[in-house]
Symmetry: D2
Subunit: 360 residues, 4 copies
């Protein structure tokens, strides 16, 4: 039975044991048949202690150092799920050790650095290196893409997309915000990516953004906001506009509309936790998914399976690593507009023309 | 029985017999108990002929001149439903004749001229003069307002609002567009008004807008677009953003969301023609109202009844005439931003600071 | 101006000043241009006092006797909105006085008596006599009918319909129940009527019903229930099934589905008070209409207008008076099944075959 | 690493390679970490040939005989996914060989035979033997159950549940119908089970059912229908009513409502294929899941995982085997009512009192 596909296992390690790292381990254990989790790492003592208990019976070695972990014997792949500021260096180190890498988005909050990683990965074409834009693995977003591809809305020219998170009073978000590049680089980047996904190969022409702080005053010191609206004008008469929020009362409310010349396709306009609806003296109601995990759990499983399959079958990764670069560029320009109050223009090749900083 | 309230009749004339003028006559005849339609006027020969037939048995005198009509014996009120460019002059003439006036929004596309009418009306406080922002009479918008007033969403700080019309291939819209001031002055002004309705007494700080032409190339010569996105930053950390379109495939899709610190209230996110849903081999579907008339027919009846009641009872008009001035100002700034590509700023009193024209 | 259609007035009286009688007066005053309300009557001292105050300025004479009221000079029509037990006698008296009659459904809870009234009305063909099945005037039910007529669901063969009322803790419902014939005769009769409306000219073959008392124990003494499910098998392979309830927590929840060989059409599956939706920490919700009035207010206005128009234009009434007889027959059979536990059969002409009483 | 939980594998075989058998193999391979599929069997030559190709690289032995397959060395469990007529005998054989069994519902269409299997299983308490009522593993049904358990609707007293399948023009359904016991035994049994799940420990008092054939005339010869409505009155004032159909145009439409004294909870009233909605000139629409597989794929994975986990952890199976017996009894009574036209009564212990056959 040694030649059975049921015995194929890609040895993978997960870097980072925060909220998402733990979930990725579970996904790999339960929903990715070809994966064997052999190692995890964290720099956090509490996470390490938790992991040593939790993973004791699972044959998973717990490391307190990423550098040591990637030397684990037989290791084939790493899922980088650490904080954004070390994505690039950890991905670089893994590539240099000959490992396949699935790196959480974004590769870096620094465009230059992200480009360096892309260059390095391209120099190692036998390795599978991928950045995780999880929404591209969601069945509904894919169905919307297929509908557009089959011309069901005519020529798409406008995208509205929002990423609204449940308000977080634990302080977790504010700590996290310090390292993530700001509202439009961290949160809106998914919406920017979706606008590129649906509008095709478009280049930004001008952007503007405004924001406000409704709940987390500490963000002011971080040059950030907790609610922001951004608009991107693309060359060729295409438009995208975004709303991002960290302060929603009702849950994780992420939706996208694509308007075309013959119709419109919408994803998740009515966010629902499940198929249950309740009627009571206060009316008819349903619950909302509290977090992106509940909304995108299946997408993460699909992402992991497709990444692992690209290793097993030696096929291209499902998403090219370069994919996030343009989104990052637009995200930074929106952040610059937010902070300066100015609109930021680009030339027809998508090179930024304006350079302003410091709010007027 | 002569003293019966069933015999009270305010003699009213309707100016303009376009699509809406005709509807207003019907509303007055069928749904406004206190109204007696005594006259109508139009400058259009076809409309005049139609009216002479249609209204022959109804005791309605058909005039080919507004100036003559407002001399009609016993006339008490005029509903100005002509094209926007004559709203101000006709309202002025009616006030000068001592008539009560319900004028379709906007009073004028020219802020100066609108202010003159307001001044004139204020000098005639015994007359009821009102501009028709019909959405303020809609039961759902009012319910949303009541919910906000009762603190159900905490402090409102962000409004998303859209006015999307069914695509019109008859040429009607393009002809109409020539006189209406452009996308943000004509169409978006309802959404701007709603942002002021829900956010309270806020002053604009900066605006930006982008647009595109997806269906009506003739609009380019009119300095207009058929799809536009605009953002208004208000002083005090409040934001509104808008999408207006004249090219929707599915119908009249007008919705508004108000986000507050404790929740969100939404009006008409799923536009429906009625309560009917169909299931067939292509899935589950429902129809959409084709036009704003079907969506706001009840609101127009409420508006007419409340206007007439203010005359009968000698109470203030339900909406102050000044109400539209700020919306008009913001609409023009958005239009200026659209055409120039620049963001337009205002001081803390809402006075426009930037003055740019001609797209860069 | 005496020949103006704006001056046409049908003099009408409203019999009964309960909840619905008062609403009918308002509808006639505000939404029926051709109607003049000249009189009302009630046997209830409190209602009479209320009416004398309320209608003092409206030129409406308040009578304490139906018999006297129908002698009101110039009276042309009566809207019978009293309790069901006097519908037939009052309709009879009005016809005999030469008056047009709009009688609330049902004409009678007694089939024999109802048939007598139909016979009398048919003997006075110049009078407009109509029973008010208000749902047949609802825009959505009519749209569903039109869709079925245009073959959009193929051949309709199955109807599900429910009439569920908000629970009433005031005691009003139980008092009302004493005179109304029971759950399937009073409440379900609308659903039975809709099954006939959508399935065409079908005859019952067999019925069965069960019920329970969840909230109003006093109903046991009245041989009634507050929740009931009934099934009607029609000859020709058609089926209807119903759910009626007086104890819903969330509001007036009335919906209907019609299944055909090619699709399904549904009316009001998601009952909503208006277009407002709220999001809060407990999820996404909307309110429900509390009562059938809010759901069917427009239908009542349409009904009144069409009835009055049939008098003005001397055209047939929009609904034939006979229409309710078959529904009444089926309603009684369901009630008999409910009380006996037996299924009740009919022959192919719709004549009842089984005769059982007293629950086993 | 031999002691790692990642290496735990329960060796399981799947009996039957029809539509569902193939899906179960996939579920076990991809979503059940603790399962190793070692064998499959079928009596159908085409299925066998397909399986030999498909499973060649997966270490799965393909048998043409169930009896031989259950002798497979090291086999620990069998998933019986054959036609209903052999469920009982195959389950019996597996138990006698000392295997754990997950048997598709129902254990048998014959109550006597089903009881025999239950008795046998109870005599082998160390074996995990479970009947697959897949809806009990669905997250939404479970959430509804939890809501009811937490008293969110008061005391539940009424269930409406429907199982409506997409029309099948391939002939598959009619062939399948020949062995499945009829509409109420095969299809409605899920709804009956849900009524027991939500109403608690209730006993039937009386049932009635009607049906029609709208699409598959061949069913008449099989004493079956393709659309049926059934009502169950339970002792204690509880009611359930059901609609089952094999002829829906729009997809798999399975929903359930539970009404309580304080509210109502609803599962899947608006069946959706995914989160995508489309707007076009024909309105706003969404697709529906074509089959129960798309609706319940996750539930099947949960079911398989919980069954396998009960073996690994030696805990009770998540659903007791007896669970289906009462549903089967009620299903047969509904079928008897359907065919006879009579209502069928039960005593307070749930023993059937009436025995009628042959439609009147």
């Amino acid at each position: 039975m040694s030649s059975s596909k049921q015995d194929i296992k890609v040895c993978i390690a997960v870097a980072g044991l925060g909220r998402m790292g733990k979930r990725h381990v579970k996904t790999l254990l339960n929903r990715v048949a070809y994966a064997q989790v052999v190692a995890v790492c964290s720099a956090d003592p509490a996470e390490l202690e938790w992991a040593r208990n939790e993973y004791a019976d699972w044959g998973i070695v717990v490391y307190d150092s990423y550098e040591t972990m990637i030397l684990h014997p037989g290791l084939q792949a790493v899922w980088v799920s650490t904080s954004t500021d070390v994505h690039a260096s950890q991905t670089t180190a893994a590539i240099q050790k000959g490992l396949n890498v699935l790196c959480e988005k974004p590769l870096s909050t620094d465009i230059e650095e992200a480009q360096q990683v892309v260059k390095l990965a391209n120099a190692h074409p036998h390795l599978k290196v991928m950045a995780g834009f999880s929404r591209r693995f969601d069945a509904s977003y894919r169905d919307a893409k297929a509908k557009i591809a089959s011309n069901s809305i005519g020529d798409p020219f406008l995208v509205r997309s929002q990423t609204c998170d449940l308000v977080d009073d634990t302080g977790f978000f504010v700590r996290y915000a310090a390292k993530n590049g700001g509202m439009f680089v961290d949160c809106c980047i998914h919406d920017i990516d979706l606008s590129l996904y649906y509008l095709g190969d478009v280049k930004p022409k001008a952007v503007w953004a405004v924001g406000t702080i409704s709940h987390h005053p500490e963000l002011a010191a971080l040059d950030d906001v907790d609610n922001g609206v951004g608009v991107v004008e693309y060359w060729g008469g295409k438009i995208a506009y975004f709303y991002c929020s960290r302060t929603q009362a009702h849950g994780h409310d992420v939706c996208t509309e694509v308007v075309g010349t013959k119709g419109k396709v919408m994803v998740n306009l009515d966010p629902r936790a499940n198929n249950v609806t309740s009627a009571s003296s206060s009316g008819i109601s349903h619950e909302v998914q509290p977090e992106y995990w509940e909304r995108f759990e299946d997408a993460f499983a699909t992402e992991a399976n497709e990444f692992i399959a690209s290793i097993v079958d030696n096929t291209p990764v499902p998403l090219k690593l370069e994919l996030g670069l343009m989104s990052l560029k637009i995200g930074w320009a929106l952040q610059e507009a937010l902070l300066s109050g100015e609109r930021i223009r680009f030339d027809e090749d998508g090179n930024k023309l304006d350079n302003v900083r410091g709010r007027l």
